[in-house]
Symmetry: none
Subunit: 225 residues, 2 copies
DNA sequence: GAAGTCGCTGAGAGGTCGCTGAGAGCCGTT
DNA sequence: AACGGCTCTCAGCGACCTCTCAGCGACTTC
């Protein structure tokens, strides 16, 4: 059973490594996010222990990058008790379990065994509207099984619309959420990006997922159009 | 947060119920598909946990039936590891997430939270008058389940009438609320818009929701006409 | 039944809104 | 330095929405 331990607290990492080795695991340790992504991509681990606070590439970014690369090794995240991040965010990004520091070593071993036993990693929550799917962890959008590539802005807009699928959202709401909470420019930019999305999501499939509600805003059909 | 747990493995269902209760959820448990549909239709849950293998009506059929009835509560499906179904089928049928048995309880809780969070805030009250409904959040108007598209002005007028359904409201009250508090033009514009609403809401259904009270104003029938 | 008031209706002018194509500015890459 | 991708601005256009107006019918009052 191979474990990749990622933590920049050298002392803690070393303690854990020794304990896990005694428990029969083969352990590799790296201390920053970039090395973690590299190590996990290069060779196959059964499970990854990933701290959030990391130099160069923090735990969330590293996890997202791994999932984006198609690495689905189960990940147990280590979160500080009162960190700035919402712990459940970890799940949205494709983590499979988490532990709050400080943690009991026995619990860690038990969780790791459970993750390994359970096998494949859990799928992150995927937004669905008919045959339109958006996977936040992999930052991937598909219609009818076909991948759609979007720019960051287009992606942000679609994610917002899908989070509110079925509801009518105003351009100002969109601007405040997808652009800037203090946006005060021309709302026309939303129209422009809605058009871009329609050209990529609707036109090629002869569908109409994004409806215009004149005078109010836009609505993404719950069934994907 | 109310959870409906549907599973015919009594032992498992009970364990989950206790765990969720400890985690602060209000849990209701049923053990077959028909009861699930009934329970979910009768009262509002924040999320439904639905096993696939169920007596009387299996999970897929139950889910389809719920959606058919317009129940859009988020559903997390439980799938057996090597079942006959492809897991991704769940998405096609309108499930919002799934977990493979056996699953980690911690993951279940996190997923439920994510689903509830994703579902957004509680819907505001939907205005109802007979078979006429107006949903302010979705900005959607329906008569007998059929969507009616309204212009902003028409929508504003109908919203006002439905807020005062059963009461007679004068044209001046309408003008001050729907048009402008300092409106001083010709009240005839209200007559014109009442007509537009009648053409869209009443005429196609051979109904008379909006009554004229000569010399007084208008009244929207509480029972929708 | 005549006169007056009130509400209904069809037509249309004018304004607003959203859509669209073109292109400028800004990056990061080659 | 040139290029390509991304973001955003802008102005023209067409469709839609709002409101006005005048004629007519219905109801009320005398």
């Amino acid at each position: 059973m191979r474990v990749l331990m990622v933590d920049d607290e050298v002392r803690l990492a070393d303690t854990v490594r020794r304990g896990l080795t005694d428990a029969g695991f083969a352990v590799e340790v790296v201390h920053n996010g970039e090395d973690a992504v590299w190590a996990a991509s290069e060779s196959a681990f059964d499970v990854i222990v990933l701290d959030i606070m990391l130099p160069r590439l923090n735990g969330y970014r590293a996890l997202a990058e791994l999932r984006r690369r198609g690495v689905w090794t189960p990940v147990l995240m280590l979160t500080a008790k009162d960190g700035e991040y919402d712990q459940t965010d970890a799940f949205d990004l494709g983590a499979d379990d988490y532990l709050t520091k400080p943690f009991s070593f026995i619990v860690l071993v038990a969780r790791l065994r459970a993750l390994i036993r359970r096998g494949g990693p859990e799928r992150p929550v995927v937004l669905v509207a008919g045959d339109l799917t958006l996977d936040p962890a992999r930052r991937r959008v598909e219609r009818a099984g076909q991948e759609i590539t979007l720019t960051p802005r287009e992606y942000g807009l679609l994610e917002f619309l899908m989070q509110h699928r079925g509801d009518t959202v105003s351009k100002m709401e969109i601007l405040e959420s997808v652009w800037d909470p203090a946006f005060d420019g021309d709302p026309n930019v939303v129209e422009v990006y809605v058009r871009y999305l329609r050209l990529k999501l609707d036109a090629p499939f002869d569908r109409h997922a994004i409806e215009t509600v004149r005078g109010m805003g836009y609505r993404l059909a719950s069934d994907g159009g």
